[in-house]
């Protein structure tokens, strides 16, 4: 069974198509990313899957449960961390978890152990009785993830999980998310506009733009689809073009300057064998550099634009900052 299966999913707001007939599926135990710019329809897709809003047309199921007909059953097995703030900063970390363990009807004898586990797991145990408004941005985010774990969800939805976090806090959140999948087999559907985040975190990515999925596959597949990595090398004694062509697609070759550019699928693997065959032709390589293809290139190819910072992300960041300052 697929963890999530969407077929021709559409969500209209009056005459604006926020999500335009998208189809995708998420395997159990996968970390699946919806990558795209502001207003691409990622958050709307998550909210429809979470049964917060009803789709205009198309079908969507979570572990075989219909999101329209059995909304409460989907919510019972789902955890959700919205892009905005989902913890009450006027309560302590512990209370935030206790509240949600009650709202998910966790049996009384299991509550304390679940809360304790989640706090331990997210490294918040020592600050659990402090008001959440005294937490740092990274701690608030970890508390939000802990909160989403109170019902031991099979399916976890993360909307822009690392938005507004500094690089260290970001990495910590990524580690925690990965461990959830590795240790408990939780299936995770996340949205992000951060190419790097999608690359390090996701097993599979669907690139969204203007309500449509424009490309999908593993990060490696997607990067390979834009041509691959570019190797530039400099060698003066002899023409390398012939040898290089055996290893990949020659992008440019200027023997008189001794400069060559070559496109290959996996740069770091290709370099040693290229050097070896050039060596066997008695050509001495003076320097070599590798430019890996990025998801940014992928996005540029399929969406015809670069992902821009700003819009609601800026709002979300300002919001998070404002909430912290309120304390």
């Amino acid at each position: 069974m697929k963890a999530v299966e969407a077929v021709n999913l559409t969500k209209m707001y009056s005459d604006f198509k926020a999500v335009d007939a998208i189809s995708f599926d998420v395997d159990e135990g996968q970390i699946f990313g919806l990558l795209g710019p502001n207003g691409a329809g990622k958050t709307t897709t998550i909210r429809v899957t979470l049964t917060l809003i009803k789709p205009t047309s198309g079908s969507i199921t979570v572990f075989g449960i219909d999101c329209v007909k059995s909304a409460a059953a989907v919510r019972q097995i789902s955890g959700y961390v919205p892009q905005e703030v989902s913890i009450d900063t006027d309560l302590t970390g512990y209370e935030n978890l206790l509240m949600y363990s009650k709202l998910y009807y966790t049996p009384k004898d299991q509550r304390e152990s679940r809360i304790g586990d989640a706090l331990e797991y997210m490294d918040l145990a020592d600050r659990q009785h402090d008001l959440a408004k005294t937490y740092s941005g990274g701690m608030m985010r970890r508390l939000e993830i802990a909160q989403a774990l109170m019902n031991r969800p099979k399916m976890l939805f993360l909307d822009e999980p690392s938005i507004g976090l500094d690089p260290t806090a970001k990495t910590a959140v990524w580690e925690h998310v990965k461990r959830l999948r590795d240790e408990f087999g939780t299936t995770i559907l996340l949205t992000t506009h951060d190419m790097h985040e999608a690359d390090v975190l996701c097993d599979e990515i669907a690139i969204m733009n203007r309500g449509k999925i424009v490309a999908d596959g593993s990060p490696e597949e997607l990067k390979a689809s834009v041509g691959g990595d570019v190797i530039s090398l400099v060698a003066h004694n002899g023409d390398c073009s012939q040898v290089l062509q055996e290893h990949g697609k020659l992008l440019s070759s200027r023997p008189e300057e001794g400069a060559y550019e070559l496109v290959v699928a996996r740069g770091e693997k290709a370099i040693p064998s290229i050097l070896e065959s050039l060596e066997s032709h008695k050509i001495h390589v003076e320097s070599v550099s590798l430019k890996k293809s990025t998801l940014d290139d992928v996005f540029l190819k399929y969406a015809g634009a670069r992902i821009q910072e700003g819009g609601t992300w800026k709002d979300a960041r300002l919001l998070r900052r404002a909430v912290r300052k309120r304390g």
């Binding site: 809003i53 989902s86 009650k102 998910y104 909430v323």
Partner: protein, 272 residues
């Protein structure tokens, strides 16, 4: 055909879950209040002014006839009910604020039924109202206003306060999904509280009103809340006026039920 035992068991289980959701939301409202109760005092300033300035002045010029009771006795339940209304009306604004923050999305992602969330918020408003009311009650006692100290009557007053808080928070939560932004809701809050206050029997008896105002006062839930509070809080009030206490409480209950239903039906719209 008789419904099976399993059916009853299922109904019972979902009923208990429903109740647990409502009580959980109110419980955490209380916890918030325990962490920081300064708001109760800040919000107490306005009703205190009504009692200390307006009340004392009007009592001394004897402009309003209030039977055998002093004007401050008459006014205190009115100001109490007004402060309950002010606290409760804030809940619609808070709903919009929680929507903007993301808290509401998170809350709606739990299996809890929407209507249980509405009732839970309403009960939270009721619970908070109790503390607001206690503060004003204490102030009135310090001002030497003669009010009941009979625990049963006080219990009755508390029930009316909770009901009133629930009623006005539901009105406000009906409006939140329609107006949707915080700025508009702030304006709406102002725009409904003052008219509700002045068209009620809070500061003058309904008998003194012109006919058109009497008609409005008759459909104003605040009037019923205030009358029920006077019945419980002013010693001798019931014996003197024989007020229809059951009608007053029934009307408040009915208004709460109507507005809670509308709020629950409109609730989904606040996210869109």
């Amino acid at each position: 055909m008789m419904p099976s035992l399993g059916f009853f068991r299922m109904m019972l289980a979902s009923g208990s879950r429903y109740l647990r959701t409502v009580l959980t939301l109110a419980e955490f409202e209380l916890r918030k209040l325990r962490h920081d109760s300064s708001e109760i005092f800040i919000r107490g300033v306005q009703p205190a002014l009504w009692l200390l300035v307006f009340g004392v002045t009007f009592a001394s010029i004897r402009a309003i006839q209030t039977g055998p009771f002093t004007y401050l006795q008459y006014l205190t339940p009115g100001v109490l009910a007004q402060s309950v209304m002010f606290v409760a009306v804030f809940y619609g604004i808070m709903l919009v604020w929680e929507r903007d923050l993301g808290l509401l999305n998170k809350l709606l992602s739990t299996p809890a039924p929407r209507s249980a969330i509405v009732l839970g918020k309403a009960l939270s408003a009721g619970v908070r109202s109790i503390f607001q009311a206690i503060m004003i009650f204490a102030l009135a006692l310090i001002m030497n206003v003669s009010l009941t100290l009979n625990p049963l009557e006080l219990m009755g007053a508390i029930i009316v306060i909770v009901l009133g808080g629930m009623c006005f928070s539901c009105i406000s939560m009906c409006l939140a999904p329609i107006f949707k932004t915080r700025e508009k809701m702030m304006g709406i809050g102002q725009a409904i509280t003052m008219p509700l206050f002045f068209t009620s029997s809070a500061i003058y008896p309904i008998e003194l009103m012109p006919d058109w105002l009497k008609a409005i006062a008759a459909v104003n839930p605040l009037s019923y809340v205030i009358e029920a509070m006077r019945t419980f809080l002013i010693p001798g009030y019931y014996e003197y006026y024989q007020p229809p206490l059951l009608l007053d409480i029934g009307a408040t209950l009915l208004a709460t039920a109507i507005f809670a239903t509308i709020a629950a039906l409109l609730f989904r719209r606040i996210l869109e």
